[in-house]
């Protein structure tokens, strides 16, 4: 936790400017005094009260904190770094040039760090008279990666393989063996997608970067689709399985939920009692 306080501080000014400012200030003060002297009546009174402004609003602590929270994140630093990772394997008996192994890897990464203002608590802001004391939340790392790995696969290649895999293993007509293999293949592609390389380093309209982000989203969708389809041992709606051609309401009338954490599946029951329309018995659709 860091304590920061904001107070108006006097800045050093060049002497010439200081003199000029002082003279201007003196003239302005004189005018104000004259104005105040005659402020009892007429238009000047109105002008005077506008100038001095008696109705001062001071925001309470609650509103100060709300406004800061709306800023959400303050990204203070973006680090671009290169790091050389070395590794070696030695053998106790044989000399290195016979059995040893050395690894050299150049890793290029980007780290964005800063402060997340949404963690700000009411007690972190203290207002006393002119000063606002603000206790900042601990700085944290927001994102790492993406421009990572100066060496890696091209996004287009991973994208192409993902597309092919989904078409071949999880298309319109689905087969048990293909699905089972597809789960494996798509997991490999998901792993590959984390080691992609973007050649375009421009900060202006970087479409290569957009495509890399799209790949990340597509991989998630593909993995969830493949795993859910493989697990569902029936045909229903858009899922048409060769090995389970029938709809199975007894075991499979439930929604599939896929969790990215742990790559696991869960199910939740189907609402069979709508709130506003009459209940209809679910049955096989025949045309």
């Amino acid at each position: 936790m860091t304590e920061t306080s904001f107070t108006p501080s006097a800045r050093r000014l060049p002497l010439g400017k200081l003199l000029l400012g002082a003279t201007a200030g003196a003239i302005f003060a004189l005018m104000l005094a004259l104005l105040a002297g005659r402020a009892e009546s007429g238009i000047l009174a109105g002008l005077w009260s506008t100038l001095t402004g008696r109705d001062t609003h001071i925001a309470g602590e609650g509103s100060v904190i709300e406004r800061i929270q709306r800023l959400q994140r303050l990204e203070t630093v973006v680090f671009s770094m290169d790091k050389i990772v070395t590794g070696s394997k030695e053998n106790a008996l044989l000399p290195d040039f016979l059995a040893g192994d050395k690894l050299l890897l150049l890793v290029h990464g980007e780290v964005v760090a800063g402060i997340d203002f949404s963690h700000l608590q009411a007690g972190d802001v203290r207002v006393d008279r002119k000063d606002v004391h603000l206790r900042l939340p601990a700085p944290q790392i927001f994102t790492t990666r993406l421009d990572s790995a100066k060496s890696g696969e091209r996004v287009v290649d991973v994208l192409h393989d993902l597309r092919r895999t989904m078409q071949a293993h999880c298309g319109v007509f689905r087969f048990g063996d293909d699905l089972k293999k597809g789960v494996q293949v798509v997991a490999e592609i998901a792993e590959r997608s984390e080691r992609t390389f973007i050649g375009d380093k421009s900060k202006v309209y970087n479409t290569a970067r957009v495509e890399a982000l799209e790949l990340e989203n597509l991989v998630e969708t593909a993995v969830s689709t493949m795993i859910s389809a493989e697990a569902r041992k029936e045909s229903r709606g858009a899922q048409s399985r060769d090995d389970y051609p029938e709809r199975d309401d007894k075991n499979w009338m439930k929604h599939t939920l896929w969790y990215k954490e742990g790559n696991r599946l869960d199910y939740k029951p189907v609402h069979l009692r709508p709130l506003t329309v009459q209940t209809m018995e679910p049955k096989v659709r025949t045309y």
Partner: protein, 231 residues
């Protein structure tokens, strides 16, 4: 095939240049966009906009061998072996083939592109007869790709003052709509030596429109309405 593409990245280039790409196309590549996508696979720093790949979104409007069009519905078979692709003319280039469309949309918004009707909304939709609806054919199909306006010399000259073919086509689309009640306000808004009358029937807009629309005809209809109103 050989593509010569206008390149400019303000992040690193002092000035724009042309870059050649030898793109290995095969029978699967039907449209110019397929070739562009292959060029991007060779060099991911090539930037262009694309989305629907079927002439609906209007993102990939570019200048193809000197003529504006959508890369996604321009057939490779209709093009020569060597194609030069530039960004749309008359708009500031952001990067490579991507232009800043702010000025274009500013003109589009200036004609109030929505039905203005002050009657309280009926219980269901505001109805039109099939004949009334027919008046909108050839007007509503515009996808705002900006091929027409950026091929118009009048618009190149006065992009801030002349509404341009795309905007005027839309202006007439709402003038022709029987559900719209703001006809006279719309005509007031266009009765101006620049906003409407910079159109000198050059008809580049008709020549390039990828959806086969006719902005010049719509502009003439607006002029007709103005004349009818005056007499």
């Amino acid at each position: 095939m050989k593509l010569t593409i206008y390149r400019y990245d303000p992040d690193k280039d002092a000035k724009p240049y042309y870059q050649d790409y030898d793109v290995p196309t095969d029978a699967h590549d039907r449209m110019l966009l397929d070739a562009l996508v292959k060029a991007k696979a060779l060099d991911d720093s090539l930037a262009f906009r694309r989305s629907c790949r079927e002439g609906v979104c209007g993102s990939d409007a570019v200048n193809i061998n000197g003529k504006n069009g959508l890369a996604c519905i321009t057939k490779l078979a209709d093009l020569p072996e060597h194609v030069t692709i530039r960004p749309l003319p008359g708009l500031p280039v952001i990067r490579d083939l991507i232009v800043d469309m702010t000025q274009f949309f500013k003109q589009y918004h200036s004609i109030k592109p929505y039905v203005i009707n002050n009657d309280p909304p009926p219980e269901r939709e505001r109805l039109q007869s099939p004949e009334e609806r027919e008046h909108l054919d050839g007007l509503y199909e515009c996808i705002l790709c900006a091929c027409c306006s950026t091929s118009c010399p009048s618009w190149w000259w006065n992009p801030d003052k002349f509404v341009g073919p795309a905007g005027l086509l839309q202006a007439y689309r709402f003038l022709a709509d029987t559900r719209d009640q703001a006809t006279s306000e719309r005509l007031d808004n266009l009765e101006d030596p620049y906003r409407l009358f910079r159109c000198h029937t050059i008809m580049n807009c008709v020549d390039v429109c990828p959806k086969g629309l006719n902005p010049t005809k719509a502009i003439n209809h607006i002029k007709e309405l103005l004349v009818k109103r005056a007499v």
